[in-house]
Symmetry: C2
Subunit: 224 residues, 2 copies
């Protein structure tokens, strides 16, 4: 019985596609239930509210991704010597691509959802991820810190958020950008290609030399 696929899953599958494509706010429950071929009330019956549906859609990926990332982070943290930045960043690639096992196109959809989440419902997703997976992400920050020991913590904070912005925006605009690249450079780009292009950009940005404030001379190096 293909038809008797769990209603919850039919909703999740329809919702994630529409959310990724149109954003959370601009996707109505009627669009979702109509694509999923279930009754409108099913969302509220099975998930409680639209907000909880959004969280369920994200959690399906976040749960497996964060578990895998945690493993990778622990592995790198166990190393004797600090890992170089490129290696630390590259650690995201495999766990991200493995999301294709959760769902066809899982990687692309999850990253688009991430983009939508940070743009659409400003603040909510940041809180949600930090609340549920802050401990995992702290390990990542530590790894970056070890690989760039000369970088002040506050500078690192900004640069990691710059990087988050790069990723989130690129993924939210993924479709549009891929179209342009196709038209202008007849270049076929899949999600893996974009990730591979992102890494060197991010690594270079994070490790960039710190800007010397052109203030009226700070005290020239306070003796160590």
């Amino acid at each position: 019985m293909v038809a008797k696929q769990n209603t919850q899953q039919k909703i999740l599958d329809a919702a994630q596609s529409l959310f990724a494509e149109t954003g959370f706010n601009d996707t109505s429950l009627r669009q979702i239930t109509s694509l999923a071929e279930v009754n409108l009330a099913a969302v509220n019956y099975h998930f409680g509210s639209k907000k909880e549906l959004i969280q369920a859609v994200l959690q399906r990926y976040l749960r497996v991704l964060m578990l895998r990332l945690d493993q990778e982070f622990n592995r790198l943290l166990a190393a004797q010597h600090p890992n170089n930045l490129t290696k630390v960043l590259a650690v995201f690639v495999k766990p991200l691509l493995e999301l294709n096992l959760v769902n066809p196109n899982g990687t692309r959809i999850f990253l688009q959802l991430l983009g939508r989440g940070y743009s659409d419902v400003q603040g909510h997703l940041r809180w949600f991820i930090n609340h549920h997976y802050g401990r995992v992400l702290d390990k990542f920050v530590l790894l970056v810190q070890q690989s760039c020991p000369e970088l002040p913590a506050s500078e690192l904070f900004w640069r990691l958020h710059f990087s988050l912005g790069t990723i989130v925006f690129t993924m939210a605009s993924n479709e549009a950008l891929a179209e342009i690249a196709q038209a202008d450079f007849s270049e076929e780009v899949d999600i893996e290609g974009v990730i591979q292009r992102l890494l060197p950009y991010l690594a270079a940005g994070i490790a960039a030399p710190v800007f010397i404030s052109l203030q009226p001379q700070q005290q020239l190096r306070s003796g160590t």
Copy 2:
């Protein structure tokens, strides 16, 4: 008569603040007209529609910014030798800060609007800017190309959009990020501070060494 300020301007001022803070989609005309202390119908009477109001809000800044940017680009293009990347990027700073003359906090508000515009109404703003100011921005691309002659055009395309993402996301999240930085590093950050932190990051990212596509699994060092 302070009270008899042009209704159009009262609307524009109220709209830009609310748009910057809450986004375009999540700001209703009733919120705007109530903050501006004008009648609800005034928006449609003076601007035609909400969409045209959004464009008017953006145009107020885009017009003066693009004019100034065009001047700067022409100045750099006239130089004998190619300009280095940092110099090319730094050219944005003054014109952006001059938006504070258009309106108090003009720089911050415009950049937030830009962030909202690219996130909220996916595609529209990209088209709008490209349509109206494509000629100006082409000069910028040319300048970057001259300063990074070794960078393939397609790679440059992606990296410039990565950079756009960094800027847009940072500005849309500006408030949240500044709060965190304040709490975690007791660091007071204004919009100019953020811009100064962005520049080295972007310059390094754009000029990063091109990634040498490593085939599936490293064939254990081929030759050399």
